[in-house]
């Protein structure tokens, strides 16, 4: 089945083209094509995932079997059986020959460039790819279905679905790529699509500003990505990911250059995955339609950076410095950005900051454990999509993003309420929902790794969990409890929007059970499914730490309790105590003054000084040079015309003509008509010739 995995992005590309060309003439204006294509893509993803996951589990089982045989030792006449668990210490586990993880590469070499170097287009199917396929196609399918309700009657409905298809296609391309050039292609396509979708309602200046901000901020990181890709190429001489793995395993690289390249790549991931300090575009990206926010936050855009780090996980392992940087950036992001969610009134902005914070968890986790990072990515994708679609449902009902216009929505919107609670609880890491298992794995991984950065991640991650629980409880109370504060009569959303919520609530609640940290599930769960290389298989990486799990749960419950105590009575934003904490509130409401800093230090000098200066330079210097060159060419041409052409060439031609004319005028008198004269000339000529011959 995996040989046909390339069909998954291909079917989305086809869908995009079909919607673009014929969508307007279809009965449902193109939406049905996108949903059908995604249905196909999802079924294919499931088939691919089943094949990949089962092959991986079989490989792990074989490794275990080989180990139980190998670990019978003879010590001093006695037979000692050492049961070495393959999962316990991944590096110690020796992989028997012939056993390997599922990996399928198909590649076409494009025209060679020369110098023994050529560009390839290829696919790489492994555990990570299969997992991303599942996540992207499922979430995107839900978003498509939901959008038919949310975007109903929009003047650019067909164009919207075209963009959704392209967006999904781009992410799938990024995921399936077997070389970094294709990753960059997918990456940039994702960026363009997000730009178009964030600015989808560009009639309002704020929306197009947000789109430009998102594009430029991520583009800043993309510079790093390009530098990193080229750096890795100069190090290993290839863009192919497998060969880069092999290069790292062989150990023939320059540590300094590798660290530099990886840090540069990480800057790309920082931009795309909205890590501190390039996170500022993400809250503004809420300007786009809410289903798009769900897609961006859960599946297609911000996960790209995390995916990139996971894809290059073995390479990152070779550079401890980079891992520390990743952990620190992640922990700053997860904690500081979580705090910002406390003072937001816009429900989508709360979710946006929570996304940034959760992305911080993923990035920080990848510094310690591959499985923890991508498991959080996987689980978070479902419940964050659920939350955003739920928020969209709220906004659809009250026609406002602000929680000050909501309140008391539990009665009129029961489905939204129930699913939103599930999503919030999952995000707040309440057991046994998805978020609990994934976040616990992140923290346990960091705790198990220990060290300075590990401790930092554990402590701040735990506190961040409390903050998360607090602000999600705050949202729940402000939105669903108390009296309705807005205008009109809110009502439950249409079925097209309701059912995706219900469907998404299932994995949001249950997906954690694919990776239970206990022995009975271990080590053949999620960790085995999604491994990309047995050499980096962590088994069940992290031992379940009951104390840690209890502690984080307690912190989360504490957060919820605090929020309940504060907001149960005064469920109104006007007298929100969070907004009355003086300096604390002020700093948070101004987003740590980062936007002002960027405006003042980067945007304004660039826009008000550098750009006009460049414009002046262009206008007065470059244009003048160009004009001078043009005028010079015209003058030169005129001179050439007058001298060379008119005098020289024409002179020669005319001269030949007039010479012939002149001589003809002279010679015409010889033609006298007197025959005897001619005959005389003839005889004289014969005589002369005769004399000449006689002499010669």
């Amino acid at each position: 089945m995996s040989e046909f995995a390339w069909l998954i992005p291909a079917v989305m590309a086809l869908s995009a083209l079909t919607i673009l060309l014929f969508g307007k003439r279809m009965p449902r204006h193109g939406a049905e094509v996108g949903i059908l294509a995604l249905g196909v893509a999802f079924v294919l993803s499931v088939l691919v995932a089943v094949e990949v996951f089962s092959a991986n589990v079989a490989a792990v089982a074989e490794v275990e079997e080989a180990h139980s045989v190998q670990s019978v030792w003879e010590v001093g006449g006695r037979e000692v059986t050492l049961v070495v668990d393959a999962a316990e210490g991944g590096e110690a586990a020796e992989i028997p020959a012939g056993v390997h993880e599922f990996r399928l590469e198909q590649s076409t070499e494009l025209s060679p460039i020369g110098g023994g170097f050529s560009i390839e287009a290829g696919t790489r199917i492994d555990g990570l790819t299969a997992m991303m396929f599942l996540l992207v196609s499922f979430v995107s399918l839900m978003v498509h279905v939901y959008s038919t309700g949310y975007m109903h009657g929009d003047p650019r409905y067909t164009w919207y679905f075209t963009l959704l298809s392209v967006f999904t296609f781009s992410m799938l391309l990024l995921v399936i790529a077997n070389n970094l050039l294709m990753v960059v292609m997918g990456w940039e396509l994702v960026g363009v699509c997000s730009f178009l979708l964030i600015g989808f309602w560009w009639e309002e200046k704020a929306n197009s500003d947000a789109a430009i901000k998102a594009l430029l901020t991520t583009k800043l990181g993309d510079v790093g990505l390009m530098v990193g890709v080229v750096g890795l190429w100069s190090e290993f001489g290839t863009f192919n990911i497998t060969r880069i793995y092999e290069g790292v395993a062989a150990g023939d690289f320059d540590q300094g250059l590798l660290t530099f390249s990886l840090l540069a790549l990480f800057i790309g991931a920082v931009g795309k995955s909205a890590q501190f300090p390039l996170h500022t575009w993400l809250p503004d990206a809420m300007a786009g339609p809410t289903p798009v926010s769900a897609l961006i936050h859960a599946a297609t855009m911000v996960t790209a950076g995390v995916f990139l780090i996971a894809r290059l996980y073995p390479v990152y392992q070779a550079s401890p410095t980079t891992l520390t940087v990743i952990a620190i950036i992640g922990v700053i992001t997860l904690f500081a950005m979580g705090l910002l969610a406390l003072v937001q009134d816009d429900v989508k902005r709360v979710l946006a900051y929570s996304t940034i914070s959760q992305l911080g968890y993923m990035v920080a986790a990848l510094a310690f454990s591959y499985t923890a990072g991508i498991f959080h990515l996987f689980a978070h994708g479902f419940f964050k999509a659920l939350l955003f679609l739920g928020a969209g449902s709220l906004i659809h009902a009250v026609h406002s993003n602000n929680m000050s216009d909501m309140g008391g929505l539990r009665k009129p919107m029961p489905v939204t309420f129930a699913t939103f609670v599930i999503g919030s609880a999952a995000l707040a890491a309440i057991p046994p929902l998805a978020g609990f298992w994934s976040k616990d794995e992140v923290l346990a991984g960091a705790f198990g790794a220990g060290g300075y950065s590990g401790t930092l991640v554990t402590v701040l991650g735990g506190l961040g969990g409390m903050i998360t629980a607090f602000y999600m409880a705050r949202v729940l109370w402000l939105v669903f409890a108390g009296e309705f504060r807005g205008n009109g009569h809110p009502h439950e959303s249409p079925a097209a929007m309701k059912w995706p919520l219900v469907v998404l609530a299932v994995p949001a609640a249950l997906i954690g059970f694919v990776n239970l940290p206990f022995d009975f599930a271990h080590p053949r769960g999620f960790a085995a499914w999604t491994m990309f290389d047995l050499a980096y298989f962590e088994g069940h990486p992290v031992e379940f730490n009951l104390l840690l799990a209890l502690g984080t749960t307690l912190l989360a419950l504490l957060g919820i309790a605090a929020a309940t105590a504060i907001y149960r009575r005064r469920a109104a934003v006007a007298n929100d105590p969070m907004l009355r904490l003086g300096l604390f509130t002020q700093v948070l409401q101004n987003k740590y003054y980062l936007d002002q800093l960027y405006m003042g230090v980067i945007v304004r000098p660039l826009r008000d000084r550098v750009a006009p200066a460049a414009y002046w330079f262009n206008d007065h210097v470059l244009d003048r040079i160009v004009n001078l060159a043009g005028a010079g060419a015209v003058g030169l041409g005129r001179v050439t015309y007058r001298t060379v052409d008119q005098r020289g060439i024409d002179g020669v031609v005319n001269g030949i003509g007039s010479t012939a004319n002149y001589t003809g005028n002279l010679l015409k008198f010889a033609q006298s008509g007197n025959v005897q004269l001619y005959a005389g000339a003839l005889f004289v000529g014969v005589f002369v010739l005769g004399v000449l011959f006689a002499v010669a």
């Binding site: 033609q671 008509g673 007197n674």
Partner: protein
């Protein structure tokens, strides 16, 4: 037999013909002078034929050529006199100085 007698005779005859062609005004006389030149050439041919073919194996080429020249000359005179006749009909004159229209 020496070659010089017929050749000198022939050359003199040719010169007389040339003089006649160049100096006569009457077209008929010009034609007659041309015939003189042809006759001198014919004498040359006969003379050389006789001198070179004097051995045991007589060479008849010269004589044959002389007959050819006579035949051609007769034809030529026929054409020439016809032209002169037409000239006279048109102009009532056979003075070739009057027939100089083909000029610049």
């Amino acid at each position: 037999m020496q070659a010089v007698y017929p050749l000198v005779f022939s050359a003199a005859l040719f010169c007389v013909g040339v003089y006649g062609v160049l100096s006569r005004r009457n077209a008929v006389l010009v034609l007659m002078s041309v015939e003189l030149m042809l006759a001198s050439v014919t004498i040359n041919l006969v003379a050389f034929g006789a001198i070179l073919g004097a051995g045991a194996d007589p060479l008849l080429t010269g004589q044959v050529f002389a007959l050819f020249v006579m035949a051609v000359a007769a034809a030529e005179v026929g054409v020439g006199l016809a032209i002169v006749l037409l000239l006279y009909r048109n102009r009532a004159s056979v003075n070739i100085d009057d027939a100089d229209l083909m000029k610049y």
